[in-house]
Amino acid sequence: MANPMKIRAANKDGVTEVKVLISHEMETGQRKDAAGALVPAWFITELTAKHNDKLVLSSEFGPSVSKNPYLAFRFKGGAKGDKIIVSWKDNKGDSRTDEAAIG
């Protein structure tokens, strides 16, 4: 099971900025190991972010997103204490959901 995500969300002038740092290998499937064997692709394919129950971002990643992906986005609304819930799913079927409160 993957490590927890780091989520920071801050509201300023009615706009909430969310920053997410995910712990994931994001293996491209192009790299070879020391023995010359291809390292199989392993990367996050889908990511969604919700503000309380409302979807604020849905994203699809390819293998060319960096290892330990970082993502920042902004949406209108949100108040201090509201929940931001981020979930991802990878191509091996693993998934993770973490939440944070808007600070």
Binding site: Q30, K32, K54, L57, S64, G93
Partner: protein, 155 residues
């Protein structure tokens, strides 16, 4: 006499077969993710990717901004951002022209979410980065060249 064998053969059809195939690794869980736009992410060239995203030939727009370094020392971690002042943006995509698969990521923005996303991507070599946005149902694009001194996709 040989009833058990019969039953196994019967069970081998339909749903049971699927689970056997899945267990054998023939159908990987990745393929089961129907939502993920495999065609777009598997497309090699820019043109194929744009086609798979349904973008056709997007118009260049000054109202779309791609941010990123002029020179990236490490191609494995290149910070890029896309922002735009166009109205009603529903989708943002980041493409790298010379990567093995051009498409890096797509973002679907529901109403209320601003067209302003930042992430980090890998680049195999010096290349143009394209930001594609869908505004009022039309596609617009902007580009920026990022020079890479050390590739991010090597072995």
């Amino acid at each position: 006499m040989n009833n058990q064998r019969r039953n196994v053969l019967k069970a081998g059809s339909g749903a049971a077969l699927m689970s056997v195939l899945a267990a054998a690794g023939i159908i990987t869980p990745g393929m089961a993710l129907a939502d993920w736009n495999k065609t777009a992410f598997d497309a090699k060239s820019m043109a194929d990717t744009l086609k798979a995203l349904g973008a056709g030939a997007p118009a260049d727009s000054k109202d779309v901004q791609v941010t990123g370094p002029d020179i990236a020392e490490n191609g494995a971690v290149v910070p890029v951002g896309v922002s735009s002042t166009l109205p009603n943006i529903t989708m943002v995509a980041i493409l790298v022209e010379k990567n093995p698969n051009a498409l890096a990521a797509t973002f679907v923005l529901p109403e209320g979410t601003e067209a302003n996303v930042q992430t980090r991507i890998k680049m195999g070599q010096t290349s143009n980065i394209y930001a594609l946005v869908k505004s009022d149902g039309k596609f617009f694009m902007a580009t920026k060249e990022i020079k890479v001194t050390l590739g991010g996709c090597g072995g």
